[in-house]
């Protein structure tokens, strides 16, 4: 009986083969694939570089700022960087199509640049990172973030101290 139901079902449903190289395929929404970096929301804490088990993520100093690089050819898609990222600027996409010819091996890189800026208070050259938000009480408002963003770390600390004294 079981065999007959299977037989009937297979007749109705047709082949189960995924048509992939010649047609569309299914990817789960939460599939952990290639990572994606958003430089605008990065705090520059470099926690991802520290927790990456395969050493795929590397921050390097650049004349224009701080460069972020993730080499897909050594990333193991563990998602540790995305888990530890305090701002969610590292995200795992469900993109798995990474097969490439060997000549492109060193081009399989996710690159991002946190640019340099000039502090509006003291005029020092600093990185244009997002202000640190975790553990700040009371939480930063959108105005606070807007004032903190163009400042250097020292002026940011001064601002936070004044803000604490006001409360």
């Amino acid at each position: 009986m079981n065999v007959l139901t299977l037989f009937a079902r297979n007749l109705l449903r047709g082949p189960v083969t995924d048509p992939y190289p010649f047609g569309p395929t299914v990817t789960q929404k939460r599939f952990r694939g290639r990572i994606e970096f958003d430089a605008a929301s990065c705090e520059g804490c470099k926690l991802c570089e520290r927790v990456c088990p395969s050493g795929a993520i590397k921050f390097s100093k650049d004349p224009n700022g701080l460069a972020f690089d993730c080499w897909h050819a050594t990333c193991v898609f563990c998602g540790t960087c995305a888990f530890y990222c305090p701002t969610g600027s590292i995200r795992q996409t469900n993109d798995w199509s990474l097969a490439h010819v060997a000549a492109d091996k060193y081009r399989m890189v996710e690159h991002g640049l946190i640019p340099n800026q000039t502090c509006v208070e003291c005029g020092a050259t600093t990185l244009d990172t997002a202000p640190m938000q975790s553990g700040v009480k009371p939480p930063l408002t959108a105005e606070d973030v807007a004032t903190l963003r163009p400042l250097c770390p020292k002026c940011r600390a001064k601002f936070m101290k004044n803000r604490k004294a006001k409360k």
Binding site: F77, A102, D104
Partner: protein, 145 residues
């Protein structure tokens, strides 16, 4: 004679796949088995088949970071495969070493020892990605014939 050469160019030949496990954790090997044995990802649709002997192989799939212990055996096996052959590195371990990078026990990346043609990164790569890579390898192999 003329007809024979014409036939050779018209008829598309089918490559045979051969798998070398160079110290892999078997994750990539399971995915390779999945692409071949499960009807859902049927690698034989691309006209290729797994074979048991290196002497019959056309496309070599290498998994694992090439451990020091298996290096000589893998190199010997690779020598037995007749030319023209296409080498495919499956998984991040043979490409760069992955989490075993810079370990004293592994000789990764394998392109120091084998002329790699196609890379399929992933830990392990998805069956569709392997199909992608095999399709690329077949295209390279057709050019080399």
């Amino acid at each position: 004679m003329n007809i024979l050469t014409n036939l050779k160019t018209i008829a598309s030949r089918s490559p045979w796949l051969y798998r070398i496990n160079a110290g892999s954790c078997n994750g990539c090997d399971v995915e390779l088995a999945t692409t071949a044995l499960i009807p859902r990802w049927d690698v034989e649709r691309l006209g290729c088949q797994y074979c048991g002997s290196p002497r019959h192989a056309d496309i070599v799939l290498i998994t694992g970071p090439l451990t020091r212990h298996v290096r000589d055996a893998a190199l010997r096996l690779y020598e037995e495969i007749p030319d023209p052959k296409v080498t495919v590195a499956v998984g991040v371990c043979p490409i760069s070493g992955g989490i075993f990078r810079e370990s004293y026990a592994t000789c990764a990346p394998i392109d120091q020892y084998f002329p790699v043609d196609v890379n399929i990164p992933g830990c392990p790569p998805r069956p569709q990605a392997i199909l992608d890579g095999v399709a690329k390898a077949i295209a390279i192999w057709r050019e080399r014939l």
